[in-house]
């Protein structure tokens, strides 16, 4: 479904600060796959996701979605197939607008945005039902401004917004990293629930290696812009954090000890 061919992204090209963030990456993801992506700082995980989302123009390579070349499509145009949740809870929502207004903006993703009413009665009922699924009581706060919500509530809302129109690709960039452990766990559970949809392919970046192995169907490890490990199925089920560590050290020739990666 998603096909990434020889993708390369270079920052500050032609300067002394030149940095190859993603180097000749080839990957194919199928619908229904839940892929966790791990790797140290500067491994190219976020850059890869930003290239897929259209945030960054790529230097080389092709990105196909359902066979369609979307490499040069602007971000807002490919957004119709892509849902995103960011690490920073403030990035996913409009803080000065109400919960229902935010949901309405996300809900009208693939519809024309003219002078129709921003929210219809029927839609409000639908939003209420969807919000009730989150189990955070937000269904009773439709008219509250998002700025009043906690980080966890915002991430939950952003997740809902990212999937309220079923995307083909769901991109999660360490979306629980800024939350306290209890809230992070809740948001992760919610992520699992929402990503169950067999039409969606989910890519989730995490710094928690145990989490990367526990959740999803496939795990990718990146280092210096390259994919150095790609496991799924039985191989992944047998994988432990210790084995993952030694694999990393062998393949990258460096140690993870100094990195931000959590070894839990």
């Amino acid at each position: 479904m998603i096909q990434i061919v020889e993708l390369t992204k270079i920052f500050d090209k032609g300067t002394i600060n030149e940095k190859v963030a993603v180097a000749n990456v080839n990957l194919t993801f199928a619908a229904g796959e839940f892929v966790t992506i791990i790797g140290g700082n500067g491994a190219g995980k976020s850059t890869l996701l930003n290239c897929l989302a259209g945030n960054y123009a790529v230097d080389k390579g092709i990105i196909r979605l359902d066979g369609k070349d979307i490499t040069n499509l602007p971000e807002y145009k490919r957004a119709r197939w892509i849902g995103r949740v960011f690490q920073d809870p403030s990035l996913g929502t409009a803080y000065d607008m109400t919960i229902e207004e935010n949901l309405a903006i996300a809900y009208h993703k693939n519809k024309s945005r003219g002078l129709q009413p921003g929210i219809r009665k029927k839609e409000r009922q639908f939003f209420r039902e969807k919000l009730a699924m989150l189990g955070l009581g937000l269904e009773n706060r439709l008219k509250d401004k998002v700025g009043l919500l906690s980080g966890g509530q915002r991430q939950a809302l952003t997740l809902l917004m990212a999937t309220i129109v079923t995307p083909r690709l769901l991109l999660l960039d360490e979306h629980t990293a800024a939350l306290d452990p209890v809230t992070a766990k809740k948001v992760l559970q919610l992520t699992r629930k929402l990503a169950e949809n067999k039409e969606i392919c989910t890519l989730m970046i995490t710094h928690n290696m145990q989490e990367a192995l526990d959740i999803g169907t496939r795990t990718i490890m990146m280092h210096n812009g390259r994919v150095i490990l790609d496991i799924s199925g039985e191989e992944r089920e047998k994988m432990t954090v210790e084995k993952l560590m030694s694999q990393f050290e062998r393949k990258s020739g460096s140690s993870l000890a100094n990195d931000r990666m959590l070894l839990l």
Binding site: Y95, I105, L115, Q116
Partner: protein
């Protein structure tokens, strides 16, 4: 203050409120400091003056002013989104260019007088409301603009516009072309500003190429006074606050005039009002620190 001075201030406040609503859209809704306003206000006045002095329909003059103002706003937006010039500088550039454009529109003359031309303010000379014709016209116009804007901001497009000022990243992730919403927003904003300029030209019976100076500050003053006095939410109240803020601002100015302030000090007073209002946050925390 005499009754006439108060009446005049209210009339002016309501007419300038259309401009203040335009400034509200750029500064608050889109979160973009747009200085095109000083130029587009005069553009609207110039267009209306030319149409009215030629015997044209004064309402058509308002619509024409709106269209030309929108165009100016669109140029500012394109300079920013397509050519990568900072929003502040884009506005200054268009404002500067408009000075020449406005002179051209006015046929090279620095001002046009409209003594015997048709105006929206002298449509009913006789009849029940003849005495308050100007006030009633001003109220009618601001009601229409207010209603239009309030409804517009609650459409899907209006939502997209408001979200653009809040969080552009989220807006693009929701499949919205933020460059397009910025363009629509600045066009609408400057359209309203120009329409306000057109009304002022008709109200004062003249258009002057220098009449737009400091307009953006006056608009901002109205917006801020409204926010401080009447609150910022919900949306209906927020828009209402802009209109009332504009009236209040004019009343303050009229009061200062009645105390003997020379008209030439108007800009100074406006700047001080905005500076004080904008620094209220910093002043408050400084006072709190002193108390501790």
């Amino acid at each position: 203050m005499t009754y006439l001075a108060i009446l005049g201030a209210v009339e002016l406040g309501l007419i300038y409120a259309v401009m203040a609503l335009g400034v509200f859209i750029s500064f608050r809704t889109l979160n973009t400091p747009d200085l095109t306003v000083d130029g587009s206000f005069v553009l609207g006045a110039a267009v209306a003056a030319v149409i009215c002095s030629g015997g044209g329909n004064p309402f058509a003059a308002l619509l024409a002013a709106f269209a030309f103002g929108s165009l100016a706003g669109a140029v500012t937006s394109l300079l920013h989104t397509k050519l990568g010039i900072q929003p502040l500088l884009s506005g200054i550039l268009v404002m500067l260019a408009l000075y020449s454009v406005n002179l051209r529109v006015m046929g090279g003359a620095p001002n046009i007088h409209l003594m015997n031309s048709p105006s929206i303010f002298n449509l009913w000379q006789a009849g029940l409301f003849a005495g308050n014709a100007k006030l009633i016209t001003a109220i009618l116009v601001i009601l229409i603009v207010f209603l239009f804007l309030y409804l517009f901001l609650q459409t899907r497009l209006g939502f997209a516009l408001r979200a653009t000022g809040d969080n552009e990243i989220m807006v693009r992730a929701a499949g919205i072309n933020s460059n397009a919403t910025k363009l629509i927003g600045l066009a609408l904003s400057n359209g309203l500003v120009a329409a306000s300029g057109a009304m002022i030209a008709q109200y004062q019976s003249y258009a002057d190429v220098g009449m737009g100076m400091g307009m953006v500050v006056m608009g901002l003053a109205s917006v801020i006074i409204g926010e401080v006095v009447f609150g910022v939410k919900p949306l209906l109240r927020r828009l209402l606050a802009v209109v009332l803020g504009s009236v209040l601002y004019r009343l303050i100015i009229a009061f200062a005039f009645s105390l003997g302030m020379p008209a030439t000090d108007l800009k100074l007073v406006s700047a001080v009002i905005v500076a004080v209002a904008l620094s209220s946050g910093a002043l408050k925390s400084a006072v709190l620190k002193q108390k501790q």
